[in-house]
Assembly symmetry: D2
Homo-oligomer: 312 residues x 4
């Protein structure tokens, strides 16, 4: 039976899917289908299409649509599909949210406005308008490294008090603020951290949204289960292994590519090495990793015990 | 005769037009027409629609289109029309640029990618792809306060060396970097500063793009003429008067609205007080200024000698 | 028997003592003695004099000396005394470190150089020189909110590999980086976080250095014990209580005082309310909290179950 | 006749002297004397010892004292001597200011408190206390790249209104703020910019304090004279030459040394190449430039027409 995200907010392991591209730079539907199947097989509790890891800021209209379509169709109701509708302003977010809803997304994920410099009350208004304009639940997404605008605990508390959002995805890296939100609200909060996912669950996170989960969903599913069951040692051991694996994001030569290409390029390269997706390409203007870097990533996959994925 | 922006890059006074909205939040075409006429009457050398002052980050697709349409039609070839095609990624910028070109824009204005964190080479690639994809000249736009990504002198020098852009709009506020670009390249560079426009022209700027020019284009036209003619005293006196007028952007209570609403709201309020546009409303989620704030702005307009604008 | 910090690095609960001042602005020796006794009675494992909470950046030479003298004499070998020798440059740090050593400090606590903008290798050199110049163990102190220079995991790994420091105090607020250091080195690492002290211990911190520990050392001693014993529920409950108490740092009106006065003024006000120190004054140029703010803090102390401290 | 800084605030060309060191890392008095004579011969209007270019943050007590002593004695009243008394807190600044005054400094230069995070009112208080505690005029120094605390126009206006300082040295790089201060106050304001010194004078700066003036004081004296006399073309040509010379600060390999070592090391290396000082060494923990970098700097000196300085 299909979970109802209106009654059960996002929870558990919800990987923010990369958006595989083919040799022409278009969405590689077959690869995206395989990625979704790979995630479902691993036992994830939801998927997030069109997040930062999905290169949402680089996708054109057709690519955004294609990604949501493929994911909704492939998931086929097995788990909730969250769609990122990330943009600079309210009206633009509403446009994306309506598209995503029509395509079958179960919830939309919304950041603070950016490029502009909004005040706290205007950020709350942004969510108020989006909430009123779309028919599916809204998940608030705090990612100040990208937006340079923080969803502070005060803002999140207001969103929770007015029931404007059903959950928070927190990619701030700030555990103190995350715990303040857990303390002050009933809002389910998921962490975007790859590196303290175990801790987040132990202190009360409703779930985890790790970009590295694209590459090793089984690891994060094990981590999550152990953390929820209070088996801290197992969760910590898994976390340590995944933290070492996360070093794939530091392989790229930063004099050639920026931070984003280094991280997302590594996820895609690792997925290509594992045979899940066909091409490691990222979207314009990000530069691809080179062969040496790909070999470095392959070696780290080996070290983490991650081999080719078998089709099923 | 119509200037040809392919042979004559943007220059002179090029105000970044606000986008007036009606009571329903849609583009107020009549007000925008009046604003364009007001600017042309004042003797501006070009107009920039869909810049930061035009709330580009908050306009939906229909609003973006409407703003460009109205401006192109009203300008009717009298001066070049630059259209902002500002977005987070290359493909998204290309989408906007094609639309703007179809609607008749003479050039498009493009920032670095943002939300993502690109490397320097990837930023140059971004302009390389946009340049290849669109049929009109591209103007580079440096506004790190919005994008949090700088177009450094090294990057601009590369853009100039490869003829990827025909001009730079520099809103960095960094005069040292601006002069480095003038020293190292032949690229026409326009400043976005309201506050040292005279200086910028004296050190070699090809033009000025002041948001406050919406409110007092005659002042900036006088400033620009004096500065170009080497009459520094007159230019400085005009600059001082305009700098005092710029205090309208500090009237709004910053515990209620953010920086952007305070600045753009002030421009629009001043234009409404002067009778150029019908409503001072800014786009969602920016909050409007209140009546007290509007009175404060009206008093500053009086002090600056700016009364109602007569229709012609 | 006195612990030997050369063989046993700092560990456990090590409060960063405030520096009480009398009505003339001089170090209030009697109050500082009472504060030390209060901490020792609560069972702390060490004390840190002259840290950020000790207003080290605001103390003149005589005050620095007085504070270390009083603390060393009052502690009388019961626990190790760490002395902050925080300053902008290597030679200045060495000057302070020699003074502190002569006065009997068991270890010195050293940040990256600041005001200047050092490279990573120069930061390591800084610790290399300090290590060579002083006779007591050195503790590295990462507090980028104050220094604007980070001790990255790479730098700390280098410090550990060369045995330049015996421990790290991490006040970065960045749990992911903290765990990376724990994973990559054997270096004992203490957290400066008041808000995730329990978590830090659970993931392997050697100790905690909470500014709020001035006010409620018993709480942090209980938290630390529970966390070390794997009783996460008790530790988390204590952490939640302390996190609520930490709201005393947000009581001060931030239009009147800065962040530092708000936080340190709150610690001192709370200690004065509890009868541990005589005056809540902070050093010039920090402004004192006002009576309303003091009453707000007193109410929060009540709520946290913290009453007057009995002399013993 | 000796200028009286109490009646004539700092003005004209006031180079922020580097502090030459000998092979043992102590102040090289002979080199410092030569540097002072070189500056006086070039016609500077004052000297600033112990500024950021003087590595004030890295000098120990003896070095601070030695530098002021040598400069005061060598200047011998020919021009005013400003002494930097830069430190994190009020009492520490007062300590330094009293020392500098005893050693004969004519004025002291004071930044906002740093390491701590003061509020605006506390920053004004800082200057209030320092003003009351020292017998010589105080110059406010805004250098947010070092202190991470800005002296905003509002703060400076308050300092001016209360006569707490006799001048401002503005190293913010923010020409708009600099001009706001000139517009709002009568306070003499000097720019610390090497790169728009001509502009600053043209818009009303009372003087210039360029670190690069150590290397080419004659150039800045010519620039200043031309700018004051309204000969903008000559001033701009000189400024352009000096801006190209300023590229010496970018020669050092930034993977080996930090920003400060790259800039100050270049000034000292250039002075050593020109024969003014004996050694290019900077203070611990800054790393010296290497031989290749020194050759690169020598080539740039050649290109700028700067040869060995003859003793006189």
């Amino acid at each position: 039976m299909v979970p109802d995200p209106a009654t059960r907010p996002p929870h558990g392991v919800v990987p923010p899917l990369v958006t595989p591209l083919d040799e022409h730079g278009e969405v590689d539907r077959a690869s995206l289908e395989r990625l979704v199947s790979f995630q479902l097989d691993a036992g994830v509790d939801g998927v997030f299409v069109g997040g930062s890891s999905g290169e949402i800021a680089l996708l054109d209209t057709a690519q955004r649509r294609a990604a949501v379509e493929v994911v909704v169709r492939t998931v086929a109701g097995a788990v909730p599909v969250l769609a990122g509708t990330i943009d600079t302003g309210t009206r633009r977010v509403v446009e994306h949210a309506r598209q995503a809803t029509e395509l079958g997304a179960d919830a939309v994920v919304v950041t603070a406005p950016f490029y502009v410099r909004p005040g706290a009350a205007e950020i709350v208004d942004h969510f108020r308008y989006v909430h009123a304009a779309v028919d599916v639940p809204v998940v608030a997404y705090d990612i100040p490294s990208a937006t340079h605008v923080a969803l502070t605990p005060d803002i999140v508390a207001e969103l929770a008090a007015e029931d404007l959002v059903v959950a928070l995805k927190d990619s701030s890296g700030d555990l103190a603020a995350f715990r303040e939100i857990l303390r002050r609200t009933e809002l389910p909060a998921l962490t975007g951290s790859e590196l303290f996912a175990d801790t987040a669950v132990q202190v009360g996170a409703a779930g985890i949204v790790p970009g590295l989960g694209n590459v090793d969903p089984h690891g994060y599913v094990r981590l999550h289960r152990a953390a929820r069951e209070g088996d801290h040692a197992t969760a910590a051991a898994e976390q340590d292994r995944l933290a070492r694996l996360f070093r794939i994001t530091t392989v790229a030569d930063r004099s050639r590519v920026g931070f984003t290409a280094g991280a997302l390029g590594a996820f895609k390269t690792a997925l290509a090495v594992r045979g899940v997706i066909a091409h490691p390409a990222t979207n314009l203007p990000l530069r691809p990793l080179d062969d040496d870097e790909a070999r470095g990533i392959a070696a780290m996959l080996d070290e983490a015990g991650l081999g080719p994925v078998r089709a099923n």
